[in-house]
Symmetry: C2
Amino acid sequence: MSDFPPSSDGRPDARPLYAQVESILNARIAAGEWQPGHALPSEPELAQELGVSHGTVRKALDALERRHLIERRQGKGTFVARQTSERARFHFFPVRDLQGRQVEPTSTALSLVTTPATEEERAAMHLPADALLHRVRRLRAKDGVPFMLDETSMPAAVFPDFSVPAGREPMDELYVVYQKRYGVTVVRSEELLSADGASPEVAAVLEMPAGAPVLIMERRTLDAGGRMVERRTSWLNTARHRYVSVME
Amino acid sequence: MSDFPPSSDGRPDARPLYAQVESILNARIAAGEWQPGHALPSEPELAQELGVSHGTVRKALDALERRHLIERRQGKGTFVARQTSERARFHFFPVRDLQGRQVEPTSTALSLVTTPATEEERAAMHLPADALLHRVRRLRAKDGVPFMLDETSMPAAVFPDFSVPAGREPMDELYVVYQKRYGVTVVRSEELLSADGASPEVAAVLEMPAGAPVLIMERRTLDAGGRMVERRTSWLNTARHRYVSVME
């Protein structure tokens, strides 16, 4: 097991072997050593390189596949997964119509500013004292009717020279841009939801009465390396839409 | 492959072999042929019985384990999983405090009635014309402060002689009762969420002003056989609580 990095506190790693192999391969993807689209070595090659059994490598690859970090293509091999537009639009956009069906809204950037992170933001995102955040406001509409507003904040150091076309729909979903332009692969978003009365500002943008009930989503998003790359607050008018959550 | 049941339309099953094996084993659990706690045959025994490779059986068992239908115990074998109280309380109860931490509320049954299903309910749950539904209203409180009300409807034919202790906390979580008493294993819940003003009745129970914003969850719950065994509407006062959703 001489190929395995020692754990940071010097104690032996107590996790199952496949989980340790998963971490090693995950780190290569997170560090950009293996870019999206990159073909992984074969299972026997990986087994030999890491000094573990074929079965252990396969179990590690199974776990990476379930986390959407790699893709196996029948007869072609195993590849680092690209953040697909489909996954960004449906999996990470859990908004449906009243019957629970997928919706494909337009998404328009209302504004983009870059300003210093607040103390609370620096603490939450583990940022240095002089950190800057890009702040994007976007409006989603269906058939010309706006139903969701969101404000996304991301560290300027992670996403230098970030831009969005003002007042127009971007070509790519944000998470696709993160990966294509910045090599940042989003693997997990966590949201805390609440109901509240819409502020006058939110109500005006969503064309609903001020104080009317609105669904609020507070999101934190992690990349393949476990780093928080985004915070987001969204306001959903649930007159014609629902938020979907599946437990299994 | 003579051990495999023909598909209902007579066409060959196009799914991967492991998925077909998963379905066969799933059906034995769903039908109660293998009860919770039952020890499964060994992998080689299953491979021989079904005429597939050891690897295919293992992949099918991996899938059943991910769906929480079986449990592997180191050195002891593989068992049909019991619905644990922990899974019922945390996984199927996605309510957290304002910081996203788990909460352990009290749960009190307010009422239980058994009445005919409405036409809408019969259509949604695929029930016959004379179907009856049990309807349980429960109130969750933390430190004596009520924060969530729910109304659960379940077919009386699936849950005969169902009872809850009126005005007291039940011994077991509902999903634990479903399995222990009725052999019904819950594997999936889907919820559609919205924000709305609390009705006078909901507001009174949750001790909030009528019309104040409340988070509404509409749930449908499926068992291991894919049958809808429950519908539920919940009202959450988000003054001190949040609904958590994880995408990964």
